[in-house]
Amino acid sequence: MSYEVNINGEDRKIEILSREGNKIQARIGEKTYDLDLMEVEPGIYSVLYQGENFNFELNARSPKKYIVDTTDEKIEVEIVDAESRYARSRKGGEEEDANFISTPMPGQVVKILVEEGQKLKGGETVIIVSAMKMESEYKVVKDRTVKEILVKEGDNIDGDQPLVTFE
C-alpha cells in the first residue's frame, strides 16, 4: 500500500523498505534511512540514525494524526492514505471559518455576552472563559449570526468543546 505523510503541512511519500527486529529501512521522499527504532515506553520511541540518538514522544490526536515531540519542538505528522485523500478532496482544500466557538483548554464559563439569533460584528466578544484564575475573551472574526448557545454561565467545559454555534 502506498502512503504519504504530511509533515508540518507538506506532503511526502513514505515507505518501509525492510525490517529486522528494531532495524528498519525506510524511504521518505527521495531519501533512504537505516534506523534502529524502538518503542522504549508506551508512545516513546528511541531512534538511532548513524549513531545519533533521537527521542520522540508521540501524541496521537487521531489514529492518523500525530504530534511528535522532539524535545526541541512539536512536529505535526498526518498519515495520508486513500481515505484521507478522499476526505480532503471533498473539503475543497480551503479551510472554512469554524461555525462554532470553542476554547483550546478546559475551563469555566464566566460570561456569555450574546443571545441566540443575535447578529454579531466581526471582533465582537461572544464569551468569556476562565481557566486557572485567568479570564480570556473569545470573539468572532467575521460578522456572524448566533445559532445556538450550548453552555451556560458557570459551566465547566472541556477544551475543543463547541460553546456557541453560528448560522
Binding site: 528498519i24 531512534v47 522532539t70
Partner: protein, 502 residues
C-alpha cells in the same frame, strides 16, 4: 511541642511542608477540596479531610471549615503555606483564640505589612529606605519643583487622580523640570479636572531583590541573604537565583541589616521576606514584606543550608533561633525555575489537562518540589504551577549549565509547559551576564519565542516514527476474519524480511 500539623494548602507547598514534618517526627493532616481527592498531598499526608467544593473560596479559603478540621483531627498547629490564608490576619488571630498554633506571624505584623501606606510609614520610622516620593498630593508648582530637587532626578510626575498614563511625565534632565511639571499638571487638569500631582523617584533599571529573614519569639532576628527575582512576566516571578549576580558584600550586609530592622519594626516572628527594588548602582528601597514562606524559598535553603520549614516549626514551638547571623554564609549558587502548565507562545495562557508522562531530571545538584505524577489531571481551579526545579552549582556558571541540562531532560507530555521557554532564558546572553532587570522578559521577547530548530533529517525521522506507530496500531486493531488472532502484517513483514535476508 507541636505533634500534629494541619497544612491549610495544596500542591507542591503542602508536600514541601509535610516533608519537614515527617523528618521531625510530626504527623501531618491534609485538607482537600472535592477537586483534589486524587492530589498527591492527600495521599502523602498521615490524615486527610475534605473541606468543600472545588472553588477556593468554598474550601481552601474557608477559615471556619479549616479551624473545624484542625480541631476534629487534633492538630495542634496549622501551616498555611503561601497564598490562600497565609497572609490573612483574621486567620492568624482566630487560630490564637482557638488555642491552635499558627505557623506564621501574628495579626499585627500581617496587618501592618499588608497595608502599603502603613508599611511605608513603619519602614521610614525604622530607618529602612523606601522609594523617595511624596505621600500627599502637591498642587503648588514651586513646591513640586522643590520636591523634585530634594528627591533627585530622574523622577516620575503622576497625576494624583490619574491612571492610564495620562498626566504622567518622566523627568530626567534638570532643564526639563519646570516644563514637565507644567505639562503634567495641565494634562491632569484636562483629563481629570484636578491638577494635583505625586512625585516619585524613578528607578531606571529596576532589579527585584529580596531578603529572607527568620525571627523567633524572643526578639532574635537574622537574615539568610538575598534572592534575585528580576526575571518576571506580568509581575510573576519565573526564575530566581541566589546570590544575586549584581550584589556586593558591602551592600549585602547593609541590605541584610535593613531587612532585619524591617522585621523587628513589626515584632515579627517566623519566616518572612523583605522585597526591595534596586537600581544598577545598588541603591535599594523597601517595596513590601511577604509575611509567609515564599515560593522561591528553596534556593536559599540550597545555598545557606537551612531548612526553612523546620525553622518555622521550631519558632512556632517557641524555641530560640538555632543560628546567629555570623553562623550563616552563602555556599555556591542556586537557581529556581517555575514550571507552569502554560502556553508561553500564547501570552502565557494556562494549559491545564492530563499529564501523560512525566520524567524528572535527577542527579547531582538537582532538587524538585512538585505534586505531579503520571496520569494526574491538573485541576482548572488553582494555580497552574507543576513543579519548581532547583539546581545548585559550585558557582553561577555551573548552576546555569546544570539548569540547562536539567530542563533539557525534563519531559512532561499531555500539557504545554514553560520548560522550553525557561531553557531559552538560560541561553540569553543578558541572563548569562547577570545584569538583567525586571524588564528582561519584555526586552527579549524575540529571543524567547519558540523556534523551529528541528532539522529536515530530524523531522523525517519523526515522520517515520509516527508512520511505524501507525502501522503497528493498524495491525493490532485489525479484526480477525477467521476467528484467530489477527495476522499482523507489520510483524509478518519483519519475519519475511528476516528470512529473505538470511
Amino acid at each position: 511541642m507541636i505533634k500534629k500539623i494541619l497544612i491549610a494548602n495544596r500542591g507542591e507547598i503542602a508536600i514541601r511542608v509535610m516533608n519537614s514534618c515527617r523528618e521531625m517526627g510530626i504527623l501531618s493532616v491534609a485538607v482537600y477540596s472535592e477537586a483534589d481527592r486524587n492530589s498527591l498531598h492527600v495521599r502523602y499526608a498521615d490524615e486527610a479531610y475534605c473541606i468543600g467544593p472545588a472553588p477556593s473560596n468554598q474550601s481552601y479559603l474557608d477559615l471556619e471549615k479549616i479551624i473545624e478540621t484542625a480541631k476534629k483531627s487534633g492538630a495542634d498547629a496549622i501551616h498555611p503555606g503561601y497564598g490562600f490564608l497565609s497572609e490573612n490576619a483574621a486567620f492568624s488571630e482566630r487560630c490564637k483564640k482557638e488555642g491552635i498554633i499558627f505557623i506564621g506571624p501574628d495579626a499585627h505584623a500581617i496587618n501592618t505589612m499588608g497595608d502599603k501606606i502603613t508599611a511605608r510609614k513603619t519602614m521610614l520610622a525604622a530607618g529602612v529606605p523606601v522609594v523617595p516620593g511624596t505621600t500627599e498630593p502637591i498642587v503648588d508648582l514651586d513646591e513640586a519643583v522643590k520636591t523634585i530637587v530634594e528627591i533627585g532626578l530622574p523622577v516620575m510626575v503622576k497625576a494624583s487622580a490619574g491612571g492610564g498614563g495620562k498626566g504622567m511625565r518622566l523627568v530626567e534632565k534638570e532643564e526639563d523640570i519646570l516644563s514637565s511639571v507644567k505639562a503634567a499638571k495641565s494634562e491632569a487638569l484636562a483629563a481629570f479636572g484636578n491638577d494635583a500631582v505625586y512625585i516619585e523617584k524613578y528607578i531606571n533599571s529596576p532589579h527585584h531583590i529580596e531578603f529572607q529573614i527568620l525571627a523567633d519569639q524572643h526578639g532574635n532576628c537574622i537574615h539568610l541573604f538575598e534572592r534575585e527575582c528580576s526575571v518576571q512576566r506580568r509581575h510573576q516571578k519565573v526564575v530566581e537565583e541566589t546570590p544575586s549576580p549584581i550584589m556586593t558584600p558591602e551592600v549585602r550586609e547593609e541590605m541584610g541589616r535593613h531587612a532585619v530592622a524591617a522585621a523587628k519594626a513589626v515584632n515579627y516572628a517566623g519566616a518572612g521576606t523583605i522585597e526591595f527594588i534596586t537600581d544598577d548602582q545598588l541603591n535599594y528601597y523597601f517595596l513590601e514584606m511577604n509575611t509567609r514562606l515564599q515560593v522561591e524559598h528553596p534556593i536559599t535553603e540550597q545555598v545557606v543550608g537551612v531548612d526553612l520549614v523546620r525553622e518555622q516549626i521550631n519558632i512556632a514551638n517557641g524555641e530560640k533561633l538555632r543560628y546567629r547571623q555570623e553562623d550563616l554564609s552563602q555556599h555556591g549558587h542556586a537557581i529556581e525555575t517555575r514550571i507552569y502548565a502554560e502556553d508561553t507562545d500564547n501570552n502565557f495562557m494556562p494549559s491545564p489537562g492530563k499529564i501523560n508522562h512525566i520524567h524528572f531530571p535527577l542527579g547531582a545538584g538537582v532538587r524538585h518540589d512538585t505534586y505531579a505524577y503520571n496520569g494526574y489531571e491538573i485541576p482548572i481551579y488553582y494555580d497552574p504551577m507543576i513543579s519548581k526545579l532547583v539546581v545548585w552549582g559550585n558557582n553561577r556558571e555551573e548552576a546555569i549549565g546544570r539548569m540547562k541540562r536539567a530542563l533539557g531532560s525534563y519531559k512532561i507530555s499531555g500539557v504545554k509547559t514553560s520548560i522550553p521557554f525557561l531553557s531559552r532564558i538560560m541561553d540569553v546572553p543578558d541572563f548569562k551576564k547577570g545584569g538583567y532587570t525586571t524588564h528582561f522578559i519584555q526586552n527579549h521577547t524575540e529571543a524567547l519565542k519558540s523556534k523551529d530548530s528541528c532539522s529536515e533529517e530530524c523531522s523525517d525521522l519523526a515522520a517515520i516514527t509516527a508512520f511505524v506507530d501507525f502501522l503497528k496500531k493498524q495491525e493490532r486493531a485489525k479484526p480477525a476474519s477467521n476467528g484467530k488472532a489477527p495476522a499482523s502484517q507489520w510483524k509478518a513483514f519483519g519475519r519475511k524480511k528476516a528470512v529473505t535476508r538470511l
